[in-house]
Symmetry: C2
Subunit: 527 residues, 2 copies
């Protein structure tokens, strides 16, 4: 079922000579399929098709887009075991995770289908004319969100389904009316091709214009660079490393017409554990956090890589308990040999830093591509002085920082780079004595959590997954939840436009029965 | 009343030795006041004060911010004739325009005051917990918009009040909870200082933290560059030239932490006149457009610099009528000798282009700093081949392009750079035969107008003032209307946060009685 070819719209294509394979980290061997890297010609063809499809797709009705998105979900489910097995063979992740992530992917697609079927998401805003206003008559002005144009989505290594081919970025962009070209992630190119085939089938079944979706294989950075630099591409979605995301942002801004890049990048997700909580339930917190740090072999962007407390015996006991619990867990497989290599190298680099101590680490030999977990600790003073210690280690690693006092804790938080999440573990009312610490934390993150763990990102309207740079390139948007559609749209005004030529969303009759702001009041009524 | 000093928060300061004056273009002489360019120390002090003020100002209640904004409006009105006279002496614009612009500025401030007094603008979105959800409990998550941090606003030459010191950008940023540092426009530094004094008075009267506003004098580009590069500045608002806006964008993205730059830049605002309209009322349209092109000596960003029609005798007659009407008007004063110089040089550059013909131009001598108006014409073919002809000429200039047919018209529109506005002049139903032309136009602009003129930008919720690059650096936002507050905020989530520690906007009791989305329903109810 896997051909290794690109999808240029509905056509499978393999014009190139550069090929690559995916790797099964659990079995420690290459998978059987050969993938054909997209050529310049294929890249251009995909973009031209997308630009052409946009002319039709940008005004397709919400109900038709909903049918398309639901059909994608159906076709993904129809791939059944083939998809789950391919996913596992390309990631080393267990079947349960594969199925869970598929469920999330399908849920996201259906959430966006519901959003566009309802139609109110366009934020229709209408100010009717006042012809006799003095000193000048007031025009009739009506505004709604419209799509930007072809969007390039980069698949993420750690979410082959939920943040890749038909993941959150793609679902949001297709929902908004933007065609999508996916730069497939090379580590799970087979999973990507299968999902791409589901999207293409869904597009054909629901009569979408050819070019509304393309999937391009790529094992290096050139395909992505060309896509982002192409003048007919109008926005970019990326999930991955700071280095990768920043390179794309720089490239997008260098264009004659700069375009928005929404990149969700690295994060060490600081967790503040307050003294009373530590005293009263340090052991339980340690056990919970051992699970959170180790979840998915630590390969989550919300992994708690930094735990902050005020120096005390309770903190030392907690740290020991956390380390021992972590190390007692069975090591697990990472996504790819390159990810293991990166983990080991970043871990070693940090462990070599003066003043950083390993509390406990998994010492037995691990299977190939498995990660050995480690918990480290350092004083607040040393952490403050050494920015290398602030860097993310993608894997089952965390660092406990022992701050001198609440002031140092606040200072450390203030100096952190932007983060996706910040967490506070507190006993009842204890938190009220730390308002400056909390204010500092809020200033550095996109989501703040009380007595929980940062891993586990709920897909719902109130979710913010994003944050000050480098958590994301533009903190004004979220990457998770239906609000993420706003990344791919712009507001557009019609002034004195004839009613019958307006889009349905803005017509007097309100034929779509959507919620609109009319002369300052939110209403479902017609005009 | 004008000291020539900077405002570093509430302190007037003149530590530098570099000075400059403003110029009265109508009288053709320098004004009396000397302005002190801000020094590095003053720039840093203003930013540090702003960053410090942000710690308090970012959580100040909507009603207090509303009182501040209304007080600014009151203090601006209290400046009375002093402000109007200073404005006129620094711009060459007539008193009526000064008063009109003051009215608009006050209206904008009061609109934002109403917005934040109401409070619903924060887009509060609440998903309550589902503790018994399978397979995992659902957390309580609550989202609202919070301010980004200190914002730098660049004053605009052509709107000394409405888009400068206390203009749209400043009003929106202060309303959002962001302190503002204004880089005063050197052409109207006196007007700027007066308005700054009004803001400072208002801040003191309403007990705002010192540093919530600063005003820095600058006659070159260095002050602006330093402001944008400073790590404690979190966003930038700019209205001006493409060159200036692009330079700031490039600078902001080069920072270790890139920040959003919202720049509203150039536009030639294409106007499409369809054949029947031209035949039936070409003369009336010509007269209307002569007024629009000449309004404010053509110094509006929505000035119609490009008129597109299909080659015919009617188009020739229209063009002649437009040119003759324009030339019969009295020339008027431009903002500054440098603006006149730019106008004359850009005009000459275009007129030298092969194939561009001057239809009529004002030929008598004009007073110093006055602009002589001109209408030009060119064939569609030549326009398509020569991108120089697509450039903005800031002043009373317009170009009529004679397209071969509807296909060429569509092709020309498709190849235009992004624009603030596009206008269609049509007879009843005529427009329905031009759906491809209209679709192409919509793809290039932020606002589309039917049978009107692009000049005159209504301040209302449905307005979009912005558009694809280079009309603005980020088409996802508007610069006019209360929605422009979204440029300066980011969404922020609280997960399982204790109710009494949540901001009022998100508390169960809904103490502010704002409209919120609770579990998918928009409601004013408590939880």
């Amino acid at each position: 079922m896997i051909s290794g070819k690109n999808y240029i719209g509905s056509q499978q294509s393999a014009k190139g000579t550069k090929t690559y394979t995916t790797f099964n980290p659990e079995a420690n061997k290459e998978n059987n399929f050969t993938f054909f890297e997209a050529t310049n010609e294929e890249i251009n063809d995909a973009i031209e098709l997308a630009a052409n499809a946009f002319k039709e797709y940008n005004t397709i009705s919400g109900s038709k887009k909903a049918a398309f998105l639901n059909a994608i979900a159906d076709e993904i489910l129809a791939l059944d075991d083939t998809l789950i097995k391919t996913y596992c063979s390309e990631t080393g992740l267990p079947e349960g995770r594969a199925k869970g992530e598929r469920g999330r992917t399908v849920f996201q697609l259906r959430s966006f289908a519901d959003l566009v079927a309802d139609g109110s998401w366009v934020d229709a805003t209408i100010d009717t004319a006042i012809p006799d206003r003095e000193p000048m008559p007031k025009s009739d002005i009506r505004k709604m969100n419209i799509p930007l144009g072809p969007v390039v989505v980069f698949g993420a290594s750690n979410f082959p389904l939920a943040y890749s081919t038909a993941g959150g970025d793609t679902a949001a962009a297709l929902a908004s009316g933007c065609p999508v070209i996916v730069k497939s992630h090379p580590m799970h190119a087979g999973t990507g091709e299968l999902v791409a085939s589901a999207i293409i089938k869904a597009a054909e079944k629901t009569n979408m214009p050819n070019g509304v979706f393309s999937n391009l294989n790529s094992s290096g950075i050139e395909v992505g660079q060309q896509l982002v630099a192409h003048q007919k591409v109008k926005a970019v979605g990326f999930t991955g490393s700071i280095k990768g995301g920043r390179a794309l942002l720089d490239l997008a801004i260098k264009r004659e017409e700069p375009i928005p890049v929404f990149a969700e990048m690295g994060s060490i997700n600081p967790v503040v554990i307050l003294p009373k909580a530590l005293k009263n339930r340090g052991e339980a917190i340690a056990k919970t956090y051992a699970g959170s740090v180790n979840l998915g072999t630590g390969q989550f962007c919300t992994n708690p890589g930094l735990i902050l407390g005020i120096k005390s015996d309770d903190l030392s006991n907690f740290t020991k308990e956390l380390a021992d619990t972590m190390v007692a867990m069975n090591p697990s497989c990472m996504l790819h040999p390159n990810i293991v290599k990166g983990y080991e190298s970043n871990k070693s680099k940090l462990i070599l830093q003066e003043g950083l101590q390993v509390v406990n680490e998994y010492k037995s030999a691990v299977k190939s591509n498995y990660a050995s977990q480690v918990i480290t600790t350092v004083s607040g003073k040393i952490f403050l002085e050494n920015p290398t210690l602030h860097q993310e280690v993608f894997g089952p690693f965390s660092m406990v920082v022992q701050c001198k006092d609440s002031d140092e804790l606040q200072q450390i938080i203030s100096q952190l780079e932007g983060q996706l999440t910040g967490t506070v573990i507190s006993d009842d009312n204890e938190i009220s004595s730390y308002s400056k610490v909390i204010a500092a934390l809020q200033n550095r993150v996109g989501r703040i959590i009380f007595n929980g763990v940062p891993t586990g990102v709920e897909v719902c309207p109130s979710m913010v997954h994003g944050g000050p740079y480098p958590a994301s390139t533009d903190s004004r948007f979220t990457a998770v939840g239906v609000s993420s559609i706003k990344r791919w749209v712009r507001p557009f005004s019609y002034q004195d436009w004839p009613n019958d030529l307006l889009p349905d969303e803005l017509k007097n009759e309100n034929p779509l029965h959507i919620s609109r702001n009319v002369n300052g009041e939110q209403t479902l009524e017609k005009i």
